[in-house]
Amino acid sequence: MGLAKRIIPCLDVDNGRVVKGVRFVEIRDAGDPVEIARRYDEQGADEITFLDITASSDNRETMVHVVEAMASEVFIPLTVGGGIRKVEDVRRMLNAGADKVAINTAAVSRPEFVKEASDHFGSQCIVVAIDAKQVGPDRWEVFTHGGRKATGLDAVAWARQMTDFGAGEILLTSMDRDGTRDGFDLRLTRAVCDAVSVPVIASGGVGNLDHLVAGIREGHADAVLAASIFHFGEYTVGQAKQRMAAAGIEVRL
């Protein structure tokens, strides 16, 4: 017995509501974030991730309130990402009740930001989110701005560099798979997981419970993140854990 593999439901939040895009575009409304987080907590979610997909500052304020509300009634770890650009943004989210922040675009624009944030608040609360797209055989490139902007960075090398800069965890999303329900990009997941010494969360493409098992088994992920399979009531987190346990993976039941 030992450390359990984690299942992390992810909530994309736009102006205080949970939405889920397909290939980062089409948006469907899936409800109130705190209510959904509470339901996942009851089902046995190991953590919750909120990704703020809006850009305006008014909506950022809304996000702080969502985080505060969530932290007052759900007592499992919470990661918040989206629009985290300055040390002050990190501080605001942590003070609102987040345990970790996910930094994506800002890490690419200014890698030292990751260093500053981890020096200040500790690596344990700094997650670097990487959106990667396949650009050749076993080669993936980092994209930013919700997948719209190519960076020229190699995803595996970038994950390594971010770990050196103090990232305590990597949240790895396959842009090719996100929203497709075809399963994780296992080669990408494995390449990154094997390259870094910190935990990696696999994300993008989960359509059924066997995909979660594969993410751990074949992708070597430490945690698996999924959104739509849980939001629309297809599967509960509990069912996901049962399936993983049946496959011999250690989970918190």
């Binding site: 017995m1 030992g2 987040a98 918190r252």
Partner: protein
Amino acid sequence: MSTVAVIDYGMGNLRSVCKAIEHVAPGARVRLTAEAADIRHADRVVFPGQGAIGGCMAALGANRLRESLLEAMKTKPFLGICLGLQALYDFSEEGGGTPCLSLLAGAVKRFPSEKMTDAASGLPLKVPHMGWNQVRQTVPHPLWQGIPQDSRFYFVHSYYADSADARDVAGETEYALRFTSAAAHENIFAVQFHPEKSQRAGLRLLENFVSWNGN
């Protein structure tokens, strides 16, 4: 009404600790504080620890918190969380070596990531040790009351406590090696994991703490 002082030396998020205590003890007054007077007047003290151990020890000295904290550690129910457990030992390897409070005998060491592999998969173990792991309760204690043996709690840390005195150990966890995940010494109870983030088991531990008289 019971007053709980949660020590805040200004390094990060303590909202969850306060909210979790308020959640399990609606009658308690929870005060986030760095004031010596608040600590002296509180019925019980929670020391969550934030950031790195060097900053933690420096902040205790700079804010003159150290004395009131040491007094509380000797006189009233005291709960250390995460860094609040590590700070109780003699010494930590973090930050090139940091002397700590020496209330418990032993040292805090870094997980030797390069030498560790997961027994089941053969893959290298990741550091930080992050996620839900089991705690083997090695002694009966009022703070364990109602919590099943081997329950899982949420951990996130790169350094672990290695107790020199087995009598201080209240719980152990395995992550390639076995370390002290809970320590108990008279009125002190300290945990490496985060009870405020450990759902049912964690909330129960906090509830037990709020009703514990320190014996």
